[in-house]
Symmetry: C2
Subunit: 198 residues, 2 copies
Amino acid sequence: MEKVASAVLFPCKYATTGCSLTLHHTEKPEHEDICEYRPYSCPCPGASCKWQGSLEAVMSHLMHAHKSITTLQGEDIVFLATDINLPGAVDWVMMQSCFGHHFMLVLEKQEKYEGHQQFFAIVLLIGTRKQAENFAYRLELNGNRRRLTWEATPRSIHDGVNAAIVNSDCLVFDTAIAHLFADNGNLGINVTISTCCP
Amino acid sequence: MEKVASAVLFPCKYATTGCSLTLHHTEKPEHEDICEYRPYSCPCPGASCKWQGSLEAVMSHLMHAHKSITTLQGEDIVFLATDINLPGAVDWVMMQSCFGHHFMLVLEKQEKYEGHQQFFAIVLLIGTRKQAENFAYRLELNGNRRRLTWEATPRSIHDGVNAAIVNSDCLVFDTAIAHLFADNGNLGINVTISTCCP
């Protein structure tokens, strides 16, 4: 039976949404995890929104269901997080539009380790993982003779915020550092997006 | 009695080592905390060495009592911390010599919050707080399409490492980030020192 199975090619389970690949049963789960035709979830952090749909539908979902999210135009903007001292887990979200793409900026405050609040800041592309590789982003905190900078490749919203936070693969800082850079409880993060040659 | 005291000027307790200030009794403790004539402690992290002496004697103390500390010449060097996965609290220390001054580079791994190991990296000037203000330093971790940078004013060894770590006023990163940038358990930190106009 196993011999038969290994000779047979199965369609990807996202065939109905456009994937034309056929795979051995051993390769199927691995592919389906990263298949570009897997539906996109709503990229808003917190996971309270259960929307799923195609990549093309994400922006209109955000504009209709998450109207409070501000969008700024340009490659170089300031992401202003207000009231960073609010207790508990908090998310700050905004959109940045440049190079014909939309990027989601997320600052998340959470207690990944008990009794130790940390901030996680990241840029996600409303796009595929492949598209994301054409860009780089820089997050910069500027203070009194101090600067903290994180530069990386944007994540695709297909991967989501949590995967990055779990691995600390984003700008991570604790509340003491936040206070070094905050002004009256508000934290300005300079965000610069650029294109890069793969 | 209080009226009399407030009219009297007392010498700083470091008068014998050179301070010529006289102060009201209310101002005395505050001044003595930051008095440049207060003896310098050995700047090596860990506080196992109890040496104290003048600023001029610090370098010869380090060269005689802490021979294992390497010195590199130049404004732009790589501080290589080997075996960052060593368990427990660990310190990596080296010296950088440029602009006619000696700087101490410290990477400290410790559990500031229980169950959550963090790395703290900082540059100290073997010099006074005032001298330190003429310099800026940059610590940079470079990895696969990622870069984490911290820029600040060096601390004087008079203030010490711990004051900076308590306030997270240094480059702070957790073990997950260390692994993103480490190569085979070794972490290279690019250190650049520059002069700046106050």
